[in-house]
Symmetry: D2
């Protein structure tokens, strides 16, 4: 991540400014505000604004006139209860706004989460920067031979070098041509292609950026799917950075999320039966489990 | 609106507390925070939290690193442009959370606006208060004879008195019975009916309350429909109170909203044609307008 | 449920009409179409329209040009995979439209599910019928002494009789007054109160009705929460009726839903640990589980 | 648009199959079903399924037991009323599902419309085809000199030829490298890069495809913005194709949409004032209008 001196100055200026407010304040989040957290080679996440804290969740659940209980332990217990029983609306009472810089192919996955607000940098209106995601060598993985949408072993030697060369050269050439197409030059009789057209030449590892605003319930949903081991690495690192941030923002809610969602397990009715048989001392095999091969493989991965 | 001493103390306590924040602060909204704005006879609206200000709208539209321009006039021009061209996402970057106390029949209209977050006081879990909406005499209107879902002249004398008596007496009796059904009395062999059942006896002019959180774009959509002269009076007064609040929160955005939406007019293709013919000096009548009777009536109401 | 002869004729007329279509057809659902399924004393659910079948789910997951595989078993396996891995979008490719008649207090819970389309009978525009929900004696339950929002033992004898009398009498009286307020009588100098006002006198056990349209993913979400044992009985019976209907519509998807959601269990990270310790032969108690009392109680209810 | 023989056979097979249904049938839409409507050089739109017709809109608005009025003219009048008064929910009662093949940069604009259901072809799971959008010469426009996000004059001669060469060559080379990176070759010691990584090398004029399902109200919203003259040409042609389809599906609703939305005009409060002054005979200039330069330019474009 390389920020220009102007961008760094903008960030510092915002961090330096402090004003009084009557609103709920999360000390952990105030510390995070505006700072650029680096992700991948040129990406970043910045918290631009937030609304609410742990107490805002229980305050809304109680529809109370004041801030409610002063005891943090009471809030924590209620928050765990709400999370356990899938009460989603109190978590919707907290909101956060991020500034994210990310490769276009990551943005395409991200945007599938519809319950959020987005303003993306417009490549119809503006010119994109020459910044492309090139994977680190240890992320240059082969196609998985067992999982149709996963990664296998890391590429080695000549194959890895060749892939990196192709990615880098194609990115640079496409950007050179992008600039060339855009350039107007009266003497040469060049008008310059419209931005909305020239951008189509750029590969999807180019970086874009957006403001993304979401409530805590829907953010948790995003994080559960995208901080998961099955998510593509390039979006997972963004999710992990946001997990760290949310932990500082609403510690009690994050703890409940970690226990019930991130670290939790969903059992089918069949899986419940199998576990009960095992607890009763029976040895259950793939054949006697009533599960398909895929289900059994996933079951065994957790329960042995 | 009557608040208990505890509720008033809760509000005062929250208003008294001020903490530093790095976030965008709206001075007009800080002034509003927590205060109970009375609506109808027992209703209220309180701002519980907010995110963003006018500048947050243009900052998101520009996807900028800093707060963007320092010139308020530049923000104002861009905000008007965004509103005129139906760019909704920048307005979604501001968020507000209200505490609202309102009659159930108003809540039923309100909740039809789906893009918002709600936590309502639970009548399964808690006991509702003895508070019912009884209209002021000047709001006791007859059924409109021209509009199937509107009001006509105000009721007079005996009819008005009789209506008010029925509303008051039925409310009190239903609440007496609600309390009676709920009451457990071991000696009398009474267990007390479940709250989730007893509540069904209460008429829809009883007050409920909720926390309601919404982004500015969707709030504007709500206000355009509910602050409109065709909206039912009992929800319109809530919308009008929110209009006053939003004006203090994001003055430039509200000004644009007022000009382009609240005070604006939608013309059909036919209406555009009729106006052009009129501007060209032609006298257009209902017959030559190509409009239906209803359309022509509405057209004439504006253009004479 | 009492339908008028006109309503019955309307239903029969629609059922009698059959036309050719090129669209996917679900035989089980065709059988259900338009028929009024009774719920509670005056309520009903009717399927008005539907889009898609089991095959539409896998067809969309594969983004295929044709109907995809002809083997039902392949579809079933893929559907189970999609359900297990929380792939929600293929299930969104099926849609259903219901006509529902339900008490207002049930409608108020129902509408909290926002990702659906609703057209409700307007009490501003029209006059409501004299139909109120009065519970069956075996549903007249006391407030639970352990669960703040649940039911306990059934009321007996005099208490039950008294409650039913109050519910019936208050419903009838409020409706009499509703009619009285509405009635215009020129000779008597009565204008008749506006409908939008008179309705506020009616208790929430009066029946309303609406058209409700939802995609299969969001319907499953609704059913998981509302067919659950913790849901209020009066909404649960609607959910159960819809479960029967969905089973006929998309048998494979419903089977997967039943196994993974309705009959499934969510384990927290702590609960996973406790189960693993048990499987390893350890005796885990509430004290050594690391769970709160509430969590332990719920854990024991399933795992003993 | 080139379809493989297998794809054409799949389409023909689906079109040939007809089954009886009790559901509402739209004859115009049955005719459209499954057929591939070509858009751009390799894109297409196919109707996969639909729910409802014009009558379904008024049936829901009336919450009726039967199909409602038999008179098409009554439906038409009510539909115009609903459209004029922004009653959106009855239009939500119709649903349509499309199969769309489109360039990635168009997909990125399209997906910003969040109230819809989408299943996209997965480039993590599958390999994309070698199909890229290359503009027709008459669409190769220069950047507009007046509109920051629009097109100006068409490029000529050498500049145009050069742009087309770059677009074609970069597309082919990036796809060659994509294939190369993906290829496993045991003898050569090549594992083949994971699909989810290799795809990042592809420019955004490559074609993707998805199933897209949306209700009529939200489709109209999409069409109003994307069939507009200010929309980028490459998405507008998709919108225009859908306009033709919708016209066949729900003729009365489309007619109302065309009159009130597509052909309609939104006037600000200021613009209403200016028009009234003009109607009263006054000559209003930019200076005396109270409008900004941009507003006045847009006002003049319509009203002269």
């Amino acid at each position: 991540m390389t920020l220009t001196p102007e961008q760094l100055a903008d960030i510092e200026e915002q961090r330096a400014l402090s004003q009084p407010t009557r609103r709920a304040v999360s000390p952990g989040m105030e510390e995070r505000l505006y700072t650029a957290h680096p992700v991948l080679d040129h990406g970043l996440i910045r918290v631009i604004d937030y609304m609410g804290d742990d107490n805002a969740i229980t305050q809304a659940a109680r529809v109370s006139y004041g801030r409610g209980t002063k005891k943090v332990s009471d809030d924590r217990g209620l928050i765990r209860y709400l999370m356990r029983h899938w009460h989603s609306t109190p978590f919707e009472m907290c909101e956060v706004k991020f500034h994210v810089k990310l490769p276009v192919f990551v943005a395409r996955q991200w945007i599938r989460h519809r319950t959020a607000n987005v303003n993306e940098y417009s490549a119809r209106y503006s010119i994109l920067d020459r910044e492309f995601y090139i994977p680190e060598p240890d992320q240059l993985a082969a196609q998985s031979t067992v999982n149709h949408q996963g990664r296998g072993a890391v590429l080695q030697g000549a194959e890895a070098a060749r892939v990196l060369d192709m990615l880098r050269e194609d990115a640079m050439r496409s950007y050179d041509h992008y600039e060339d197409m855009l350039t107007a030059d009266e003497e040469a009789g060049k008008q310059g292609l419209a931005r909305e057209l020239a951008r189509m030449n750029l590969p999807t590892n180019i970086y874009t950026q957006w403001y993304w605003k979401v409530d805590l319930h829907n953010l948790f949903h995003f994080l559960r799917l995208r901080a998961d081991a099955h998510a593509q690495y390039e979006i997972r690192v963004y999710a992990e950075t946001m997990c760290d941030i949310v932990k500082d923002w609403v510690p009690a809610a994050y703890e409940a999320f970690e226990d019930y969602r991130l670290g939790g397990v969903n059992l089918s009715g069949r899986a419940v039966e199998v576990l009960k048989r095992r607890l009763a001392g029976e040895t259950v095999t793939a054949e006697t489990s009533g599960m398909s091969k895929g289900e059994w493989r996933e079951f065994e991965a957790i329960w042995g």
